[in-house]
């Protein structure tokens, strides 16, 4: 049986069977993802507390973010999760070429996400919304700009703009940059993992008998996506209403 012998050569010396090795790899990645959830949770805790303390700053802050770019990025990441899942499926069914192509597409989507993120960041830098000495926000001016641009300003937003303490908006942007920055760092690491996965896939290291690295890298990629699925509504959407 060629697949059995293939399986054996991939079983590391300290495992009894390919199945034991596979289960260990999966459990290890799930346990790691638990630590990742806890890692982000500290920032989410800060988010929850400050949002409940300063709701008007969250209203103003989320209005300064671009729903269009954020939504576009959400779609990009959802697509990348699909391509990742297809890459894993192709590897499971011994379609090495297809797997490599899906991984390339995942990398491209990941890079696109980061590109859009850079556009967003540079707009924030231009508008002096980066927390620190250069932070500057004039809510009255912003309100006037919105009205000049013909945007329908609801009472909720008008009230927030009129009463907000700009220091609190700076707090919002501190958390915005900390959380999305940490997420972007995870994306960069994820793309690094994908490039390695692509290299090893092309080398022919994986087959239906041994795909642990593909599977666990996929888990990691999906996790990073899911974090964004939480970040997008929390930062861009809920503050608006």
């Amino acid at each position: 049986m060629s697949s059995a012998s293939q399986a054996n050569e991939h079983v590391a010396h300290h495992f009894e069977s390919a199945e034991q090795q596979r289960q260990s790899a999966q459990l290890g990645m799930w346990a790691f993802l638990v630590t990742e959830v806890m890692f982000f949770s500290g920032l989410f805790a800060a988010y929850i507390i400050y949002r409940s303390l300063y709701p008007e700053a969250w209203t103003v802050g989320s209005h300064m973010l671009s729903i269009g770019l954020g939504g576009f990025n959400t779609i990009i990441l959802l697509c990348s999760s699909l391509t990742m899942a297809l890459a894993v499926h192709a590897a499971q069914t011994d379609k090495r070429g297809a797997s490599a192509r899906w991984i390339i597409l995942t990398i491209v989507l990941g890079l696109a996400f980061l590109g859009v993120k850079m556009v967003e960041y540079s707009a924030k830098i231009e508008h002096h919304l980066v927390p620190g000495a250069h932070f500057h926000l004039d809510p009255a001016q912003e309100l006037a700009n919105l009205q000049a641009a013909g945007v329908q300003v609801g009472d909720h937003l008008r009230h927030a703009m009129e009463t907000v303490n700009t220091a609190h908006v700076q707090l919002f942007f501190s958390l915005y940059f900390a959380i999305t920055g940490l997420h972007a760092l995870h994306m960069i690491i994820g793309i690094g993992v994908m490039i390695w996965l692509l290299k090893t896939t092309i080398e022919g290291r994986y087959s239906s008998a041994y795909i642990n690295p593909v599977e666990v890298s996929g888990l990691y990629w999906h996790f990073v996506d899911i974090v964004w699925i939480f970040l997008f509504p929390l930062l861009y959407l809920v503050g608006r209403h």
């Binding site: 590391a12 010396h13 300290h14 495992f15 009894e16 034991q20 289960q23 260990s24 459990l27 290890g28 346990a31 790691f32 638990v34 630590t35 990742e36 806890m38 890692f39 982000f40 949770s41 500290g42 920032l43 805790a45 800060a46 507390i49 400050y50 303390l53 300063y54 700053a57 927390p131 620190g132 000495a133 303490n165 220091a167 609190h168 700076q170 707090l171 501190s174 958390l175 940059f177 900390a178 940490l182």
Partner: protein, 555 residues
């Protein structure tokens, strides 16, 4: 304990892990969990010496009420260095990364940890973190205390906070890697027949510890990262001027750092279960209760962090709940202590050095735990908060509990790790000296704290001098004990009597292989038929050894 693993003496002795390659490369690039454990052992010994040096410096300063030996700033830097080094670079990795790494695969009949390369990486990450922390010390030190409280650490401290914080952050990932490895190894790599309720209690407690590591360490990592962005990038997450809340840092920090106390103490509890059973020749009383109390401590430990903030402006209602939950942790802890005492009851007790340390653990940890009740009571905590009472309390827990457990483990498994016996007489002597020195150091601190001596001051009111002198004298005695231990352990590496495979006549699986074990631990995968405490049955190894050399089976 097992049927198939009778390899140590039955077949030609295989190369031990210590002899399997002698080049530097064979050590630094090893993926053998036993060699990685030795790398950790060497590293934490160095850090222990460094932390002890800092303690010696500020204990000297405290001999007189005036600040004459160290300036106030230098004093702050020394106690910070003592805290950071001892907690992040000695206590947290001590039993998990040394004993856990060495013993867990052997105790469960596996050839290695589940992820050997991750295991090696964890040591390098640990050393990188330690390197950063030490470079902070060399660059001029950190003066925030090991707790890095904001806004001092994020806005005002004029010392190398970023380096130290990054060091602790990176070291955290090393403990996550070790914890993750232990969880997966225990879940997936147990030998045939080794059910959960046949596992040694040390494995149970390491499993519980690793759960705490996995759930807690990332949280402290993010709190340190937030200090980093606040100091380095000028963000203001805890800045009161922006409406940020410095106490939020304390919440996030203690969400990890209180469970971290259990990361330091749970492994010791596991060691004590093993040692007390072996030297009382009895099965651990109430095995299931002891096993589950480890998990209970791990879980409840996550809901008590607020007792560090009774006087930080936390709501009194939150304080009541945290106070109650803190009392609640005493229950699983008491279950353990009572079960250990019941294990000794009617046992045939011998007083070898590991058992002396276990006795030391029982007494000192009990004092540490009971004084904790004064601190978890809100009314008394208002008086005792930030005094030497607190300092003494957590040293009774961390040194009296954590370090005593580590020393018990070090002596109990020394023959297994090194293949040589330590000198029993000297070991007993050092154990007693350390016990006396420890109590002389910290008992007066309870008294001082109760009378209002605040912690972290380099100068103090003259009426406290006599107790500070006693404390410094005790620290010197303790230091002499440590040096004695260090000397005879090094001596024993070269001149100690060769150890037989099972010098304590134990029943655990780790004693069924040679001392020191071969690289893959067992020549063939053992099949386990009993638990690790079947002292009513002869050990397989002993029966074989008796056949070979009847007089040597018990050293």
């Amino acid at each position: 304990m097992s049927e198939a693993s009778t390899n140590a003496t039955a077949t030609a002795a295989p190369k031990s892990y210590l002899d399997d390659g002698s080049t530097i490369r064979s050590w630094l690039l090893t993926i053998d969990h036993k060699r990685i454990a030795i790398l950790y052992l060497i590293s934490i010994t160095i850090f222990f010496a460094l932390g002890a040096f800092a303690a010696a410096a500020f204990r000297l300063e405290l001999l007189t009420p005036q600040g004459d030996f160290l300036s106030a700033e230098t004093y702050n830097k020394f106690f910070t260095m003592h805290g950071i080094v001892m907690i992040f670079f000695f206590l947290l990795p001590s039993i998990p990364a040394v004993m856990g790494n060495f013993l867990i695969p052997i105790m469960i009949g596996a050839k290695d940890m589940a992820f050997p390369r991750l295991n090696l990486l964890s040591w390098y990450v640990f050393m990188a973190g330690a390197g950063l922390a030490i470079s902070a010390i060399i660059a001029g030190g950190v003066d925030t205390g090991w707790t890095f409280y904001t806004p001092y650490s994020s806005m005002y401290a004029n010392s190398h906070v970023i380096l130290a914080v990054t060091g602790a952050f990176i070291a955290g990932f090393s403990s996550i890697m070790t914890g993750l490895n232990i969880i997966v190894t225990v879940q997936k790599m147990r030998a045939p027949g080794l059910t959960w309720f046949r596992l040694p209690l040390f494995v149970w407690s390491m499993y519980a510890t690793s759960l705490v590591v996995l759930l807690g360490t990332p949280v402290v990592a993010i709190s340190l990262a937030m200090i980093f962005v606040e100091r380095f990038l000028g963000f203001g997450i805890f800045d009161p001027a922006l409406g940020g809340d410095p106490v939020l840092f304390q919440h996030i920090f203690w969400f990890y750092s209180h469970p971290a106390v259990y990361i330091m103490i749970l492994p010791s509890m596991g060691v004590i279960s093993e040692v007390i059973a072996c030297f009382s020749r009895r099965r651990v009383y109430g095995y299931t209760f002891v096993a589950f109390s480890s998990l209970a401590i791990a879980v409840i430990g996550f809901f008590v962090w607020g007792h560090h903030m009774f006087v930080s402006g936390q709501s009194a209602y939150a304080g009541v709940i945290f106070s109650f939950l803190t009392f609640f942790v005493a229950i699983p802890t008491a279950i353990k202590i009572i079960n250990w005492i019941m294990t000794m009851h009617k046992g045939s007790i011998s007083f070898d050095a590991p058992m002396l340390y276990a006795f030391g653990f029982l007494g000192l940890f009990l004092v540490g735990g009971l004084t904790g009740l004064f601190l978890s009571t809100m009314a008394t905590d208002v008086h005792l908060h930030d005094t030497y009472f607190v300092v003494s309390h957590f040293h009774y827990v961390m040194v009296g509990g954590g370090v005593m457990g580590f020393f018990a483990a070090l002596h109990y498994w020394w023959p297994k790790m090194m293949g040589r016996m330590y000198p029993e007489g000297w070991a007993k002597f050092a154990a007693i000296v350390i016990f006396i020195g420890f109590n002389l150091t910290f008992l007066p601190q309870f008294q001082m704290g109760y009378h209002g001596m605040p912690r972290r001051y380099h100068a103090y009111a003259p009426e406290f001098q006599i107790m500070h002198v006693m404390s410094t004298a005790g620290a010197s005695v303790m230091g002499a004990g440590y040096l004695t231990m260090f000397s005879y352990l090094i001596w024993s590496l070269f001149k100690g009597k060769k150890a037989s495979a099972n010098p304590w006549d134990s029943r655990g699986l780790e004693w069924e292989t040679a001392c020191p074990p071969p690289t893959h631990n067992f020549l063939e995968t053992p099949v386990v038929t009993q638990d690790a405490y079947s002292f009513d049955l002869p050990s397989v190894t002993c029966v074989l050894e008796k056949k070979d050399k009847p007089e040597e089976h018990r050293v």
